[in-house]
């Protein structure tokens, strides 16, 4: 479903991603881990064109996305959840979720509302529909952000450190929602520092270090006996 060939991204003279190739199949849950500054987020942001690769190709559903002039076409098929939520503060929770489907997909207000309420039920926030984001806790905000992304009915969901900005006791509620989503067969790419979650939910682990893809392994073998020294050192520090 996603094919990445020799992806390189440079910011000025710094190479953030160095010649990365991998592929992700439909329904797979892939966790990207690695030290900060290793290029994890940049890799994720290249997948929905928030960053333009310096070279290399990204194919999604048989289309090379850098060639596609109309970025909205690609993006409406890929949901993204950010570390800092980025909910629209001047809109109610409900409006946050219905806005893009109504504006981009042109579906009717009543249909968008119905879908949004359904999604809010799924993430356990039905009673918050008319609330403004400022009144929500971090965990609630992130669950709304997930619902907002899902409202576009994307085929792929990207998560950029979705629990890193949360208080510890709110991490679980967000991870639970993501776990449920993984169980529905959604294709997910998750940048995370939650090793327990990655091990439990991911089908594959990509380990990035200094812009290079060092490992691409099943979680069990990655966490029990990583191949590279870099990964060993990284795991020793955090586990």
């Amino acid at each position: 479903m996603i094919n990445v060939n020799n992806l390189t991204k440079k910011f000025g003279k710094t190479t953030v991603l160095n010649n990365i190739s991998t592929s992700i199949n439909r329904g797979e849950v892939v966790a990207i881990i690695g030290p900060s500054g290793s290029g994890k987020s940049t890799f994720l942001r290249c997948l929905n064109q928030l960053e333009q690769p310096s070279s290399g190709e990204i194919w999604i559903n048989g289309k090379e996305i850098a060639q596609e002039k109309n970025k909205e076409l690609i993006r409406k098929n890929i949901g993204m959840v950010f570390q800092h939520f980025h909910l629209f503060p001047h809109m109610t929770v409900l409006k946050n979720i219905t806005y893009a489907p109504q504006t981009v997909k042109k579906i009717s207000e009543s249909e968008a509302k119905e879908n949004a309420l359904e999604l809010l039920k799924k993430v356990g926030l039905s009673e918050k529909a008319e609330t403004f984001p400022n009144r929500l806790s971090g965990g609630q905000k992130q669950r709304v952000a997930i619902a907002r992304a899902l409202a576009m009915e994307p085929e792929i969901m990207l998560f950029d450190e979705p629990t890193s900005a949360l208080d510890p006791e709110m991490v679980k509620e967000v991870l639970d929602v993501m776990k449920d989503l993984a169980n529905t067969g959604m294709t997910m790419v998750i940048v995370t520092h939650e090793m327990g979650f990655a091990r439990e939910v991911a089908d594959r682990i990509l380990f990035l270090d200094e812009g290079q893809l060092m490992e691409d392994e099943k979680p069990d073998s990655f966490f029990t006996h990583p191949n590279t020294e870099r990964a060993q050192a990284f795991l020793e520090k955090i586990l």
Binding site: I74, R75, K76, M80, P89, H90, Y99, M152
Partner: protein, 219 residues
């Protein structure tokens, strides 16, 4: 003290008419300035060098020369150049609207830049087109933050509107001068005009407060 307000009583209807005349061209000017200023602000934040250069040059010219000069060029010099006999009202709206746009564009640019970059990214990630993103997501948040600065600009414009009297437009200020010349007393009509300007600005301020409260509803 040589003060006699009874003498301006017959002129009060004449002067009050000036409120409407002033309000008419000030409100149109504010509207022109706001819309044009928004467009200029959008030009300034694009990556297209031509639009950016145009907007910067525009601001430089209209902010770098006196408003009264711009007004007189439009009213007196344009007919000489084009042969088109421009009305005082149109001249006033053009001068004040174009001038205000230069200031408003900087205010709005500041407002847009203060909106978290993540808002743009979230909208882009959802596939929202640029125009919708600006209209529904970025500008509403920007306007909320810059409302006090915008109100300042509108208040300044309302008061500075008094300089249209130099092109003979019968606004509130000009009427005060005419009354003064008529009765050989200047203090009373000028004080009366000052009071009316103050009331107009007071009302404008109250409107601003109501709008601000509305926009803060989501906090």
């Amino acid at each position: 003290m040589n003060l006699d307000f009874s003498q301006i009583v017959p002129y009060i209807p004449f002067m009050l008419e000036g409120i409407w005349v002033t309000l008419k061209f000030v409100s149109v000017s504010i509207l022109v300035g706001f819309i044009l200023g928004t467009l200029l602000a959008l030009c300034k934040i694009t990556k297209l060098p031509f639009l950016k250069g145009f907007a910067d040059a525009y601001t430089s010219i209209f902010r770098g020369t006196p408003l009264i000069l711009q007004l007189m060029i439009i009213y007196f010099a344009v007919p000489q150049l084009t042969g088109y006999d421009i009305s005082a009202f149109l001249s006033a709206v053009l001068a004040f609207g174009l001038n205000s746009a230069a200031y408003v564009s900087e205010i709005i640019r500041a407002g847009i830049m203060a909106v978290d970059r993540g808002q743009t990214e979230a909208a882009e990630a959802l596939g929202v087109p640029y125009k919708d993103m600006m209209m529904h997501i970025i500008l509403p948040q920007a306007i909320k933050n810059i409302l006090p600065a915008l109100m300042n600009e509108f208040i300044t414009l309302t008061k500075e509107s008094a300089i249209v009297s130099v092109i003979g437009y019968l606004d509130l200020m000009r009427r005060a001068q005419i009354v003064g010349a008529d009765i050989y007393r200047n203090f009373e009509p000028l004080l009366f005009a000052g009071l009316i300007y103050w009331v107009m600005v007071f009302v404008l301020t109250q409107i601003g407060k109501v709008v601000e409260r509305r926009l803060r509803y989501s906090d």
